[in-house]
């Protein structure tokens, strides 16, 4: 009896040890992959505080020199461009949350002729690549004299098939009886959407909002085409053009990159769970 007990205990011990070994191995293999993602960002941050005279001789800075950050905020157009980016990305986010939740409401709660056809027409736009529309869009807004304005950056992104799709996926989880009951009590569709559906959809709306904001914050080509003055230019254009203007001031450029990454990375950190779950709800069920 005792022999058997010892045997099982030894078996357990070795098994635990083997598991620990596997965990260690896992960590060791994970580390280089984490580094692959992290190093470019850490390097950028390090270059932004490297004193200019050490650029060619040292690898690790002897001391941190934050003067380039002061310069970014006082001598460049970056602060104005950050403001522009916030205005544009914020407006697009709010606008899309409104248009997408309204359209998704019609597609999931209301019955009307041609509902499926219209929904298909909207989903089909996901297949159309941006380069098939961008030339004509550019010519259109140029003819309307919209170039160099906020509206030209905001209105073309006023709605998205992805947003409608995500919100509809979420609405489909609501019980139909909820809508019927509200209608019988004399609640209009508008009020039902505003005071029942939307408050219950906060997680989905948050995920959609974070997704749209990130997309707009990182948008590059459209703002590049339709803006030419710093009054409306967004920060991505400003940062990307710094290499041409200040090719010698490398840490200024790197500080600008860090500054423009901070908002999007903070949104990612704070909204990570919500954002990932929201995106997955669309992907897995769809």
């Amino acid at each position: 009896m005792t022999g058997k007990a010892i045997q099982t205990r030894r078996f357990r011990l070795t098994r635990r040890r083997r598991d620990a070994l596997w965990t260690l191995l896992r960590m060791l293999i994970t580390l280089p992959f984490v580094l692959i993602i992290m190093v470019p960002l850490l390097y950028t941050a390090m270059m932004s505080v490297l004193p200019p005279d050490e650029l060619y001789i040292r690898f690790w800075p002897s001391h941190f020199d934050f003067s380039s950050y002061v310069q970014v905020f006082t001598k460049t157009m970056i602060p104005r461009q950050i403001l522009n980016s916030f205005i544009v990305a914020g407006s697009v986010t709010v606008l899309q949350m409104i248009t997408c939740s309204m359209a998704a409401f019609a597609f999931s709660f209301l019955h009307f002729r041609g509902r499926n056809f219209v929904f298909m027409c909207i989903l089909a736009t996901m297949m159309v690549p941006w380069e098939a529309t961008i030339i004509s869009n550019y010519l259109t807004v140029a003819r309307w004299d919209w170039v160099d304005s906020y509206k030209v950056l905001i209105l073309p992104y006023g709605c998205s098939a992805m947003g409608i799709f995500l919100m509809r996926q979420h609405y489909l989880t609501f019980a139909k009886e909820l809508h019927e009951a509200a209608r019988l009590d004399g609640c209009s569709n508008w009020r039902f959407l505003g005071s029942i559906v939307l408050p219950l959809s906060r997680p989905a709306l948050g995920a959609l909002g974070a997704y749209i904001f990130l997309q707009q914050w990182n948008n590059y080509l459209w703002p590049l085409l339709v803006t030419s003055t710093d009054n409306v230019r967004t920060v991505q254009i400003g940062v990307a053009s710094m290499y041409d203007v200040d090719s010698e001031q490398i840490n200024l450029m790197m500080s600008a990159v860090v500054v423009c990454l901070v908002p999007s990375l903070s949104i990612f950190v704070f909204m990570q769970k919500n954002l990932i779950n929201g995106l997955m709800a669309g992907a897995v069920k769809g």
């Binding site: 960590m27 992959f33 992290m38 190093v39 019609a106 380069e131 990130l214 990159v257 997955m280």
Partner: protein, 306 residues
């Protein structure tokens, strides 16, 4: 409102014809969305098709109807060499970036699948590239690849001009694209992994399956719908990659990174040949459509749905 018994109200609602407002109401909900789609998606799409049949002036106004001449010029005419090169560059780019993105996605999500100290942190890092602007990342890589002070040359002890050397530039661009695609691949593939029922692994373990067997016979088949979906996303994204080419290489050296998308940009917004650029975009649209349809066809044969 006069109180009325609920059942009769229900019956009444069903029999009554809908009022005009009730019939219009759904369209009111759709109006803002449809307005955006019509003005900035449907109309410009058909206008692009229309423009592709014309010679245009500097302002993009259609001037001379030329039928399919823009297309034949690109496909077989004087500029066909440049076009077919851009197709070849794009096809290779799409292939390597999709393969690399999927590999990174599978490896990273398998690594953090089991709990270990720091696995939540590693997951956050692997998902992070979705938040990083490709333009900002391109600027970082521009420094890393800098010929004299860049990190890569310092680490390797070399003096390579990574962004202007025909042997390396294409590869470097692919690596950056894979780096940027890691986030979305990781998120979707690890979601797919989490959806595989744990009992499958348990019963396989009882049957004496080793780790490789489990991966081959359970993980891959159960993951195949996710992987299929992810391949489509990766292919479409790779076809449309523009920012990193624009910021890092401008299509060079010697057009070795001149993707179709970049050549469309040059044609339209540098050379103001809007008709020809429109024709190129339609060709690209048809390519992407065809590839996606072929993938859906292939899905039926190779993807396993439980």
């Amino acid at each position: 409102m006069t109180p009325s018994p609920v059942p009769s109200a229900l019956v009444k609602r069903k029999r009554r014809r809908k009022t005009l407002y009730e019939r219009l109401e759904p369209w009111l909900f759709l109006l803002p969305a449809l307005a955006v789609f019509v003005v900035f998606l449907y109309y410009p799409f058909f206008k692009t098709v229309y423009l592709s049949a014309f010679l245009t002036n500097r302002y993009g106004e259609a001037k001379v109807f030329v039928g399919l001449k823009n297309y034949t010029d690109i496909l077989t005419g004087t500029r066909s060499g440049e076009f077919w090169n851009s197709i070849w560059v794009t096809v290779r780019f799409v292939f390597f970036v999709t393969l690399g993105g999927l590999t990174m996605g599978i490896v990273t999500s398998l690594l953090v699948e089991k709990r270990f100290p720091g696995n939540a942190f590693a997951s956050a890092i692997f998902a992070m590239p979705i938040a990083i602007a490709s333009s900002a990342a391109s600027m970082s890589f521009k420094m890393i690849l800098h010929p004299s002070i860049g990190l890569l040359n310092k680490l390797l002890g070399t003096q390579v001009n990574w962004l202007n050397d025909i042997r390396y530039t294409f590869g470097v661009i692919c690596v950056l694209a894979v780096w940027l695609a890691t986030g979305i691949n990781f998120i979707f593939i690890s979601a797919g992994l989490r959806n595989i029922p744990g009992e499958l692994y348990e019963s396989a373990a009882i049957d004496g399956a080793n780790g490789w067997d489990k991966f081959r016979c359970i993980t891959l088949p159960c993951l195949s719908p996710t992987l299929f979906f992810q391949v489509i996303i990766d292919v479409i994204n790779a076809f449309q990659t523009f920012n990193i080419v624009k910021i890092l290489t401008l299509g060079g050296p010697m057009e070795s990174t001149n993707t179709i998308v970049y050549s469309i940009y040059l044609d339209a917004f540098r050379n103001f040949r809007f008709g020809s650029a429109a024709a190129r975009s339609i060709i690209l649209f048809l390519i992407i459509m065809t590839v996606t349809l072929i993938q859906f066809r292939a899905e039926k044969r190779s993807v396993h749905y439980s």
